[in-house]
């Protein structure tokens, strides 16, 4: 018997096709990116979405038969099965350029603190919750990761293994 934690199951397209009531659908994933960050749904044309374990979604370009029991399938994109879905740093770095809302831009010092994993008090007029964090690099605003804004504070969500003193 295979270990369920290594099995990838393709997301159903819509609610009609859903067998596991807790599993996200592709439609819900696209809605999440649109509603939360203004990322147009066509950004994900050509990609398939997969769930591995409980709630962790992956994005891939191919379409192997589902379920598939392997070690990795594209990149992690979103944590679901919790009240507030949480995008991954990697998904934000790759697709965050399409975000038009809930994007917070940091200056150089704040960006350094953010990637070092530090929480910082910052002014932010928008919604609380998960934000796309950007800073200037090579002449453009570049998405760098995910922050959680609550109680006047931007909490760095950079995973421990990814934190750097740049």
């Amino acid at each position: 018997m295979s270990d369920q934690s290594t099995v990838f199951t393709r997301l159903p397209e819509t609610d009609d096709e859903r067998e596991d009531p807790e599993r996200a659908t592709r439609e819900e994933v696209l809605d999440f990116w649109t509603e939360r960050f203004g990322v147009p749904p066509e950004t994900f044309d050509g990609y398939t979405f997969w769930e591995r374990g409980a709630g962790k979604l992956w994005l891939y370009q191919g379409s192997p038969p589902s379920p598939v029991d392997i070690e990795g399938l594209g990149m992690t994109v979103l944590r679901t099965r919790q009240e507030h879905w949480k995008p991954t740093l990697e998904a934000v770095q790759r697709f965050g350029e399409h975000a038009s809302k809930n994007v917070i831009h940091l200056d150089e010092d704040a960006a350094r603190a953010f990637v070092a994993g530090e929480d910082q008090e910052l002014d932010w007029d928008g919604d609380w919750g998960y934000l796309v964090v950007t800073h200037d690099l090579a002449g453009e605003a570049e998405p760098v990761g995910v922050g959680l804004y609550v109680y006047g504070e931007l909490r760095s969500q950079v995973p421990k293994g990814r934190r750097r003193e740049v």
Partner: protein, 303 residues
Amino acid sequence: MEPLDRYRPIIDDFEAFTDACERPLPSAVRVNSIKATVERVRTALTEADIAYDPVDWHDGLFVLPEDSPGANWPYFHGWIHGQEEVSVIPATVLDPQPGERVWDACAAPGSKTTQLAALMDDTGEVVATDNNLGRISALRTNTERLGATTVAVTHEDGRNHSLKPFGGEGYDRALVDVPCSCEGTIRKNPDTLEDWTLSHVEGISGVQKGILKRAVEVTEPGGTVVYSTCTFAPEENEAVLDYVLGEVDCEIVEYDLPLDHAPGITEWQDETYDPSVTNAKRIYPHHNDTGGFFCAKLEVPAE
């Protein structure tokens, strides 16, 4: 250095060779075109005050004479990846095209895997296999940081690679950059020869033969396979090619490489190899001031 003495008969200018092996090798980085352009990487390195030198044969490579890649903005964004100059060769020789299906038979830690994905504009599919879970973890970390969405990772021995998870489909191309005795990495890891034994070389040669054979088997007619090592030992290079020529239907073909090199050898000690192994290339450290490398291009005949 003692194990390298056995190569005196096959290396021109052996003194220059051993001198080069004793010089440390500076770090190099490859531009990850999935996330950035060469121009933006240049700008970001300059902004970060990191000195970089161009590499004449590849415009997406930079040598960092003073720094190691790691703690800087372009690295954090996955715009660059630490990868030695010679390590960039096999994926460029394989030359995968957008939309193709490619197998990376010994993929971890993923430098070449992600380079394949980038060469394909991150379209198609790269199946990346490794037999070591710890190294697979490093591979996963690298594919994530570099933003590759086309890499599927399997944990298995490349000799027994299964096509089942992907519906049984074969590959357009395969990269076989096998585990080896790593003699050519001595400039980066000066103690790499400390544990050198002939029995290890001969043992690992058997593994290499099995993986290359499997790669030819799972590549569709008309497809391409590239075999590479970072070692000088003919037992792990020409002998592996010679074995596979006798086992499965394939040929070793000529290819261009804009780096100085020597041809594969047809005689080693008491062994002789198929004449077509001269189409393979031996890259010695004194040739281009790089690490050592071996690379061969194979074609599977069209039906």
